[in-house]
Amino acid sequence: MSDAPTGPWTTGRLVELDRPSDRLVRLRFDVENQVEHLPGQHYVLRLRAEDGYTAQRSYSVASEPADPLLELMVECLPGGEVSGFMHDVAEQGDIFELRGPIGGWFTWAGEVTAVCVGGGSGVVPLISMLRHARRIGATDRLRVVAVARTLEELPYAQELLEHGAFVALTRENRGDRIAHPPYPDEMAPLVAAAETAYVCGSVGFASFATRLLGEVGVRSSSIRVEQFGATG
């Protein structure tokens, strides 16, 4: 059995909320009886109407295990029932139903050398890994590749750049790098010593990233994928 922790339904008070861009809302919760998570795990956030109707979605955790608060970064999807509510209606002090941590597959606790490839909001669980790596002094065992259309659209762009992630923008030039998805030549040195590869992003991104990893010699059995569809 997996030794990843799991937690039951509980509640969390929204104590911090900010909007780093038009489409992103960063939420920090004080969780009742919080169970410490592993980097890469997710939580379910549930909204409840007075007539008992509920809507719930899963979100990857951005905070590191040692953080006393639980941090989620929610991308606002067109017509997204939960993401739209968190973006437009949620306020500091509101109480939410939360369940987690969940998932024992897409986790990295720092023991193995890993390469992580995130697309757009798929970088969120990698932020948890990156923060954890710094905390335990394991940054040499974690390489992060972040792919986005523009820097503005990349969640945690500054944090990723400051801490050595390779950032590939596909629609915007950055420094000497012309807008393009990551090239095999750029990936090869990053995957060199990796025992496990993590891929997180949309369906299209995940299939691109797993193909790219394959091209630079990563065995498909060592790739762990976390995909999200349009689940607003």
Partner: protein
Amino acid sequence: MPVTRGFGSGRRRGRPERLPPGQYDTGRDWPVLTAEAQPDLDPEHCTMTVDGLVDRPRTWSWRDLHALPGSSYFGDIHCVTTWSMIDTTFAGVSVDTLLELAAPKREAAYVMAHSTTGYTTNLPLADITGGKAWIAWEYDGRPLAAEHGGPLRLLVPHLYFWKSAKWVARLELMSDDRPGFWEQNGYHDRGDPWLEQRYQGDP
């Protein structure tokens, strides 16, 4: 549990009576969720095996499967990530047909579905017999796409969709239950969407 300030049920769409608790109607969008890299399989070379606690372990080729009496499913599917799709149509062969030919032993009570990728999921035998499960190769009248588990996918629509193993290649009958891939990783052993059996520890 507390009511969420400012949240109404007005956003509910589709046919609420068809949606298990906590699910929403995804319309015709079929999200793709997998834990592993998608395999590239040639239908002509894929096979389906039923073994374990059976009197006649068998392997069917793609052609053998198509020669069996066909069977289809028209109805809803539910994913644990909270989307449901209403009125889907799948075609293939009923798992009953395969089991009839393989003849399960009396002590067989559970099944492990195995995929070509190494993915596994466990089910009580009772959940895949009696017209409740299919080996499907067609969706909406077309070959089932690789991203949705084609060429062959186990279809168990009355349970959460992770039980409907993509790229299925083998059903192993067992006397005792054993957790599969997601079940070892925190998900429920049975996964009935109407009882909201999403994770280990749910009722």
